[in-house]
């Protein structure tokens, strides 16, 4: 699968809807994720974007990186804005005021805009059952404002508001399980993805768009600036996150769990952690604690996949 992914990516469309020339940092895997999402959906899409990195790198007036309709309103309300867009498209088509065709409504936000401040609006939109795709590009902290911790920041990570000090060793809480929260809404499709597995990502986003009703795709997006990693290993880091079981790739289709890629033996978490400055202060004991929990959760996930729910 690894090799296939490396070469098969060339089979994706050459068309770019998220144009080059945007202002993201070197090695930003979030920009790559967004680019792949845009490729997956093509031109018949309307995007509602939250405030955040992807908003500020792509829309400094009078420039735009967007070749598809794109709309930014605020930080916490992306799912609500997308609800408005989706219903407007529906009613205007019904009333014959715009031509009938399939247009995907895509909501896009970071982990802060999804798991923290935007959670209520997202829950509302999922519960109401709007036909839209919600993509969370998770770089595990408020990177746009300068690397502050979010509820999606992993255990141990040092950020500017969860610093490693003498008394506290970085983030002391465990990463919020957003895909499980989305799945608990009994929506037809939930998936996790990572741009280090581009074909898998594109397929999942396409599936999310094809399924009628709300779909949620949670994408791990390596952030060299915030993770204190060198920019040229972002793809490798994404792979390691998956291979160590830190960020498993799976789908929940109509409540049924399915692992997209399984490893009989997970790589040690240390390999992932040691490449990132945000974990530099972590002692072997801390890493072991994290490792145990990762293994436990991975087993639980496998169990769910075996059972199917």
């Amino acid at each position: 699968m690894e090799n296939l992914n490396v070469f098969a990516v060339r089979t994706l469309t050459q068309k770019e809807y998220f144009a080059p020339g945007h202002r993201s940092c070197q090695g930003c895997a979030e920009a790559l994720a967004v680019r792949l999402v845009a490729k997956a959906l093509g031109r018949n899409v309307v995007i509602a974007a939250a405030t955040g990195c992807m908003e500020i790198v792509s829309s400094p007036f009078p420039y735009t990186s967007w070749r598809v309709p794109w709309f930014h309103v605020a930080f916490e309300n992306t799912a609500a804005v997308a609800s408005g867009i989706e219903s407007a498209l529906k009613v205007l088509m019904r009333k014959g005021r715009i031509p009938q065709k399939k247009i995907v409504t895509l909501a896009m936000a970071g982990d802060g805009g999804t798991a923290d401040i935007g959670l209520q609006a997202l829950s509302g939109a999922l519960e109401r059952g709007h036909d839209f795709v919600y993509v969370c590009t998770d770089n595990e902290a408020y990177m746009n404002t300068g690397i502050q911790r979010s509820s999606s920041t992993p255990f141990g990570a040092s950020t500017t508001t969860s610093p490693a000090g003498k008394m506290k060793q970085g983030q002391i809480t465990w990463k919020k399980n957003m895909p499980a929260i989305a799945a608990a809404h009994n929506i037809p499709y939930v998936a996790t993805a990572c741009p280090s597995y581009p074909i898998d990502l594109v397929q999942k986003v396409k599936k999310a768009a094809d399924i009628e009703g709300p779909a949620y795709v949670h994408i791990l997006s390596v952030c060299p600036t915030g993770w204190r990693s060198v920019p040229d290993i972002s793809i490798k880091l994404g792979r390691l996150a998956v291979e160590t079981g830190v960020f498993p790739l799976y789908e929940v289709e109509h409540g049924k769990y399915h692992l997209s890629i399984d490893f009989p033996k997970l790589k040690p978490m240390k390999e992932y952690i040691r490449l990132q400055g945000r974990f530099r202060h972590m002692t072997d004991e801390m890493i072991e604690e994290a490792q145990n929990r990762v293994h436990r959760e991975y087993e639980q996930l496998k169990e769910k996949a075996k059972r199917g729910f």
Binding site: R43, N44, V45, V46, A48, A49, E55, I56, S59, P60, F61, P62, Y63, T64, W66, R67, V68, P69, W70, F71, H72, V73, A74, E76, N77, A79, A80, V81, A82, S83, G84, I85, S87, A88, L89, K90, V91, L92, R94, K95, R97, I98, P99, I103, Q120, A121, S123, G124, E127, R128
Partner: protein, 390 residues
């Protein structure tokens, strides 16, 4: 022939939204606004209206839905009160900055604390500067009428602003009044379907909501400000067209026995009707008192107010909100409008009827009495909260 029907004002508002052929309605309950969305949900459930109606999980989302829908080219509606408006205040500024037409009816209610469900204008004053066109109405007929006026006006390509109709909670929203309903054919003629300049659609992709660096922000804001100010002729033009259709003509500032009056009451909202009763009574007693009613709150009608009030010796401005630490917000504006004139009336400011406390005709007379005495004694710019038990 137009039908005259007795109905609750909130239901009349909902009927107007139906007749205005609104496309997307987002609803969240809050007293005293709730009757409007309740009735709209019935209308949609009975198939009497083709609209996307849905209940969102907060007022913040209610307005966000309208923003998304309006940007996609749909006619959008929501309504709220008090804490709900405070919660959505962030998005009010964005809706206007993005120049997206939509209508919000506010059943005006007090802002907490202390918590109170009753009427005053503190909720809407908290978003005074958000850049929407803001009307205050006096009775149920005006609520009904202004739904059509607001959409036609806001959607005009020379305007493109969201519009707020302020109606007093309970005092208006929950009373049954005779409403003259307009025939649907006339409304369809007055208010054709919304044709947006740009919409979110793949056939003509646009980026909306880009961010501005300091090098362009002031220019963008000035453009918005100038556009709102210069919507004034369109506002009067729309009212004129509406008047020609219905015989009911509206103006930014309206007067009652004001032309030759020495003392003018200045009011906004439903208390204007009560004040006019007080004025008639005082006139019968031979006193030189008149009434100035402000209907258009934003853009503020400085010229019209001057024309109506500059000749008087004193103004008694009634506010239903407090700008804590300053004075009533209407009085601030009135003073600003008159400041440039050497020969200007004194302005005495009462805050009255907050949290729904009744303001009766005799209260208005008492306020006029008090203001005239205070001004005579040299307190020319007085400010007080009326009727507080001490």
């Amino acid at each position: 022939m137009a039908k005259r029907v007795g109905m609750e004002v909130s239901i009349a508002a909902a009927e107007a939204v139906r007749q205005a052929n609104v496309d997307v309605i987002s609803a969240y309950p809050i007293t005293p606004q709730t009757h409007i969305v309740e009735h709209l949900s019935e209308i949609v459930a009975n198939g009497e209206m083709d609209a996307e109606f849905f209940c969102v999980e907060s007022e913040h989302s209610a307005l966000s839905v309208c923003v998304g829908a309006a940007a996609t080219g749909a006619r959008a509606f929501t309504c709220t009160s008090s804490q709900g408006l405070a919660l959505m205040s962030e998005i009010t500024y964005i809706a206007s900055g993005l120049r997206l037409p939509m209508l919000m009816i506010i059943s005006n209610r007090t802002l907490s604390a202390p918590l109170s469900i009753w009427n005053d204008h503190s909720d809407t004053m908290s978003i005074r500067d958000c850049g929407w066109i803001q009307f205050f109405v006096e009775n149920g007929q005006e609520v009904y009428d202004h739904v059509f006026v607001s959409y036609r006006l806001g959607e005009d390509r020379n305007v493109l602003f969201p519009v707020i109709i302020n109606m007093d909670g309970f005092i208006l929203s929950h009373v049954i009044e005779p409403i003259e309903l307009i025939e649907q054919e006339k409304i369809d003629q007055f208010l054709p379907p919304y044709q947006p300049l740009h919409r979110l659609h793949p056939d003509r992709p646009v980026t909306m909501g880009a961010f501005a660096l300091p090098g362009i922000f002031a220019e963008a804001k000035k453009a918005q400000e100038e556009a709102l100010r210069s919507s004034m002729p369109k506002i009067t033009e729309t009212w004129k067209a509406f008047g020609d259709m219905t015989g009911r003509y509206y103006h930014p500032v309206e007067t009652h026995k004001a032309e030759d009056a020495d003392t003018l009451l200045v009011t906004m909202g439903s208390c204007s009707e009560t004040a006019s009763v007080a004025v008639d009574k005082m006139r019968q007693e031979g006193r030189s008192v008149g009434l100035v009613k402000i209907r258009l709150w934003r853009p503020f009608p400085f010229d019209e107010l001057k024309k109506a009030a500059l000749h008087a010796k004193q103004l008694v401005v009634i506010d239903r909100a407090i700008s804590v630490g300053a004075c009533g917000p209407v009085a601030s504006e009135v003073k600003a409008a008159l400041y440039g004139y050497d020969q200007r009336p004194s302005v005495y400011n009462f805050v009255a009827g907050i949290s729904g406390r009744d303001v009766t005709p005799s209260d208005f007379i008492k306020m006029v009495d008090k203001a005239e005495i205070e001004i005579e004694e040299g307190n020319k710019e007085g400010y007080e909260i009326y009727g507080v038990r001490e």
